[in-house]
């Protein structure tokens, strides 16, 4: 090939490739959606014009239809300076853009064409889109203009769009009073379940709760980098393994929390109980298995509540609605003792109403075999897995009130724990010292209640 030809060919190639690049850029993924919306909106107006009797009004409608059909194709965005959000969602969801569709209503049924549901209801009216944007409540990547990226279904966008009831977590972000709020019922239920099952015994939220495990004040912001990939890989939702991180966005914090409530946490985070990979055995997650107590709906409710525990976002103070001050119910005697048991999350280890001690891996527990070094690992683990926290009614009979109070105040040091497998890891989650945390009055009532539930055998002892 002569260089003259090469000159021509290479220039043609340059031009061709540039046109290709430009075409790819021009045919951006949002374009067809916006075009179709204008087309559909034009059609609606045309139909109205056809059925309109008044020729002048019909002409106006026809003109309006023409105008809509010939609207400029553009990236639309809601800028919410207060919240630092730039939401381009309305580029495709044109029906939810107040400038293109001032009534915020249309008759379309499908996404992204349909208008925002419930625009007449107080919930939406109280949160005008211009002031709250889209992602303030829904999460997702407001800056993005392609389907996958905008909904946050891509790698490296850690807050994808909230699905289903989980969106109620967004109420919790600002509304301290969400428990009495219409529309946040599931989150409220989540909080109730959270406290009922004693989660706060180990997980602190807003300064209240135990320090045995991580505080959950900012759990919604937990970076995935802090969750080991091989543990995320073990999370199963509805019995199914999550798709690979690289292809999907199911690796999100909601599924991580849900995974702990709908799986055995010890299977999600098995660690290294037999020291295969480390010099010392490392116990599996100490979190109890809640599958028998929580339905999928319950678990989702807790996830919704926890989805609102965020500190990352700089939400201005005037957006916050304070909740009522925490107040103990007016109870006394045994009822108060039972309330104290629940308030401090004792149920987390000792079970609801102290009915059943929860699992404590490699502690002593009912139904364990005699330890034998030669057992296969699976059998060893099955026995270690039967280790349990004490079931209080069985024990309480052996205590006097003063002894009990001392025990609760001082807790049980981790080193005192008796291992079933002496070569296995130290059993996780020991009784913390409650001195200074539970008041004297509360302690007295708690001890009284605990003694009242002690099992009495038939002989009267």
């Amino acid at each position: 090939m002569s260089y003259r030809k090469a000159f021509i060919v290479s220039n043609a190639l340059l031009l061709g490739v540039f046109i290709w690049a430009f075409a790819k850029d021009f045919l951006a993924p949002w374009r067809p959606y916006q075009a179709k919306y204008y087309e559909m909106a034009g059609e609606v107006l045309d139909k109205q014009a056809a059925s309109e009797k008044d020729p002048k009004k019909a002409a106006d409608l026809k003109a309006a239809a023409y105008k809509v059909r010939h609207s400029p194709m553009e990236i639309k965005q809601i800028i919410v300076g207060d919240l630092g959000r730039f939401d381009r969602c309305v580029t495709c969801h044109v029906g939810m853009d107040e400038y293109t569709n001032p009534t915020l209503k249309n008759g379309f049924k499908e996404n992204p064409y349909k208008s925002h549901p419930k625009v007449d209801e107080a919930l939406v009216k109280a949160h005008p889109f211009t002031k709250f944007g889209c992602t303030g409540c829904h999460s997702g990547q407001g800056l993005a203009t392609s389907v996958e990226a905008a909904h946050g279904w891509v790698k490296h966008w850690e807050k994808p769009m909230l699905k289903g009831v989980h969106i109620q977590g967004s109420c919790v972000k600002c509304h301290g009073n969400f428990e009495t709020l219409k529309g946040a019922e599931t989150a409220a239920k989540g909080k109730k379940l959270f406290n009922q099952h004693g989660c706060q015994g180990c997980h602190m939220i807003s300064g209240f709760g135990g320090t045995t495990s991580v505080a959950l004040d900012d759990i919604a912001d937990k970076p995935f980098e802090r969750i080991a990939g091989y543990n995320f890989k073990r999370v199963r939702i509805d019995g199914k393994e999550l798709p690979d991180e690289h292809h999907d966005s199911h690796w999100n914090i909601q599924n991580w929390i849900l995974g702990h409530l709908t799986n055995d946490p010890a299977e999600v985070t098995p660690n290294d109980p037999f020291a295969h990979l480390n010099a010392e055995p490392i116990p599996p997650s100490g979190m109890p298995d809640f599958r028998s107590e929580l339905s999928r709906e319950d678990a989702d409710a807790i996830v919704a509540y926890l989805s609102g525990q965020t500190k990352e976002e700089q939400i201005p103070y005037r957006y916050h609605v304070p909740g009522p001050p925490a107040k103990d119910p007016a109870l006394s005697g045994l009822a108060h003792g039972r309330y104290v048991f629940q308030k401090y999350g004792c149920a987390g280890c000792h079970g609801i109403d102290a009915k059943l001690g929860r699992r404590r891996i490699n502690a002593m527990g009912p139904g364990q075999e005699e330890y034998d070094e030669k057992m296969p690992e699976a059998q060893l683990f099955a026995n270690m897995n039967k280790g349990a926290e004490p079931t209080l009614p069985d024990l309480m009979g052996t205590y006097k009130a003063a002894e009990l109070i001392t025990k609760i105040e001082n807790g049980v040091p981790a080193a005192d724990a008796k291992k079933w497998n002496p070569k296995g890891p130290l059993p996780m989650v020991t009784m913390p010292a409650w001195k200074g945390k539970i008041s004297k009055h509360e302690l007295d009532d708690l001890a009284a209640w605990l003694l009242s539930i002690a099992k009495k055998d038939d002989s009267g002892f």
Partner: protein, 551 residues
């Protein structure tokens, strides 16, 4: 009616006052004078000579890599300037601006991709250019100085790429830059973690790393500093050096190849210029297609509180990062790169071999070519290991292994000479022993006057090592894999670091000989330390904690 004659119209246009005022010279008659005038009369072309030797224009000889590197530099300048219109270097805005480029700016994604990929391509093409120049011996007298400028340009290319790496302000960026700049903190004397650093009063907030970052960690100031260096300071220096580089190419003449009988120079216009244009156009097409098909990476917004696992330097520095496994940061991050740069610049002054100038001559310069290519291969092999074989916690993951598989914690390491080492006395035993071994290695090849028989020497050496390995295995101190490692790495080090120098450079004068040997032994020390660490879990051969001196 006048007829439409193209030739007449062309003549009318060219002879018009307007055309004449813009383009000098008369009617184009394609005479040698015209062609020369085209080069001399054009400010953009006049760095070229008027005539060049045909040899210097062959693709097979030049690979076109110098020209392609420059084409990429121009492409980077253009795309970079356009990107500057959209980018604000503050930590509050930088990441969002990149997202805007990606999602809202017309051709924004394409531009960013082109800038990113052209930068990666330039790193490769500049290295390829250096390899070509080396293999054709084109750095030899009188081109030593220009080779040195070339080495500086290579370094600056890497530095330009490195400073640009931070600008998107995502997790990839800050952790890569954190890894890269942490090595600066280990600079001997000037870094707070380097040997002797503490002695001269270096702290985390006054050492060389602090100067680079504008703080004690990667932050707002770092972003601004890197931005200014990336967009203004370094390109200016590169531009100045480029002019020097081109000027010297012309003054030192284009090709060093020996003259052939009846060789006639050919006109640069059009023979060279058309090749340059074609090369640049094809490079641009290549970068454009690449940019259309693949997007530049962008991870989550930078978060200094969340370390990525693994955190890796930009790929061209991952080789040095991999060295961190084997050496302390001051060696891996400062001494080794320093030796590479200084050693490369020194090459033309220590290579006195008059043969092999201007053509590929492996047989005539076996020592120079072998050692240089060994260095290049090692550089890329280390990059491959660091980039592809290192997973979470920087553990070794084979390509077929999933990063979702838990790996055992690395076995405990030990040191040979040091407070807790096997031979406890670093000062009394370690330094003298290692010193003596190094001195012997340094001097013996020259002191043995007679040329050794390569095969026999290698056979004897490998035999001794094999005996040693078998003994070790018999005593249960090592397995067959460790034995194989030992045989391979010591064998390679002995061949490249002892046999080859003994055979080829023992006749050099002492100054050149010693300089060469220091560079050769440094290279081999990498191989030997890799073997010590990978197969025998040796952390340091010698450690003196009181002055942070660990080898």
């Amino acid at each position: 009616m006048p007829t439409l004659d193209l030739e007449t119209i062309k003549k009318e246009i060219i002879d018009s006052q307007l055309w004449r005022s813009v383009f000098r010279g008369g009617v184009w008659k394609d005479t040698p004078r015209d062609r020369a005038g085209h080069i001399i009369g054009n400010v953009w072309l006049h760095l070229h000579p008027v005539k060049a030797r045909p040899r210097a224009l062959e693709w097979a000889y030049t690979w076109g890599m110098g020209g392609i590197s420059f084409a990429l530099y121009l492409l980077l300048t253009i795309t970079g300037v356009v990107l500057m219109f959209y980018y604000r270097p503050t930590i509050g805005l930088a990441y969002r601006d990149i997202k805007d480029l990606e999602f809202a700016v017309t051709l924004g994604m394409f531009l960013r991709n082109a800038h990113r990929w052209a930068a990666q391509a330039m790193v490769v093409s500049v290295i390829a250019h250096m390899v070509r120049v080396f293999l054709t011996g084109a750095y030899k007298k009188p081109r030593e100085f220009n080779w040195g400028i070339g080495v500086l340009l290579l370094t600056l290319t890497l530095f330009l790429s490195f400073t640009g790496y931070l600008l998107p302000w995502d997790q990839l960026a800050i952790w890569a830059v954190t890894v890269g700049t942490n090595m600066a903190g280990a600079t001997p004397v000037l870094g707070n973690e380097g040997p002797l650093g503490a002695l001269v009063g270096m702290r985390i907030n006054n050492d060389v790393r602090f100067t680079l970052l504008g703080g004690t960690m990667v932050g707002e100031n770092t972003l601004l500093r890197f931005y200014v260096m990336h967009c203004v300071a370094v390109p200016l220096v590169v531009g100045i050096l480029l002019i020097l580089h081109f000027w010297r190419i012309r003054k030192d003449s284009f090709s060093a190849a020996p003259y052939q009988a009846n060789e006639e120079k050919i006109d640069v216009w059009p023979h060279l210029v058309k090749k340059e244009y074609f090369g640049a156009a094809m490079t641009t097409v290549f970068i454009m297609v690449w940019s259309i098909l693949q997007n530049a990476p962008l991870e989550a917004i930078a978060n200094p509180n969340v370390t990525t696992n693994p955190s890796k330097a930009p790929w061209y520095f991952v080789g040095l990062q991999e060295l961190l496994v084997y050496f302390d940061p001051w060696i891996a991050g400062v001494v080794m790169p320093g030796l590479i740069i200084v050693g490369l610049i020194a090459i033309p002054y220590i290579d006195t071999n008059p043969k092999g100038i201007g053509y590929y001559a492996w047989k005539e310069r076996p020592f120079a070519n072998t050692l240089f290519m060994l260095g290049v291969v090692m550089w890329f092999a280390l990059i491959y290991i660091g980039y592809a074989l290192r997973g979470p916690n920087y553990a070794w993951y084979w390509p077929w292994e999933s990063w979702y598989m838990l790996k055992a914690a690395p076995p405990p390491t030990w040191s040979v000479f040091g407070p807790t080492g096997v031979g406890k006395f670093s000062m009394f035993l370690g330094i003298p022993l290692i010193g003596a071994a190094s001195a012997a290695w340094l001097l013996l090849p020259k002191l043995i006057q007679k040329e050794l028989d390569g095969l026999k020497t290698m056979g004897a050496f490998l035999g001794v090592i094999a005996l040693f390995a078998v003994g070790g295995m018999a005593m249960g101190k090592m397995g067959p894999i460790e034995g194989a490692f030992l045989l391979f790495f010591t064998g390679a080090s002995f061949y490249f670091g002892f046999v080859l120098p003994q055979r080829h450079i023992r006749t050099l004068d002492w100054a050149r000989y010693l300089t060469t040997m220091v560079l050769v032994i440094s290279t081999m020390s990498v191989l030997l330390k890799m073997c010590a660490r990978l197969a025998f879990n040796i952390k340091y051969v010698l450690t003196i904690p009181s002055i942070s001196m660990n080898i």
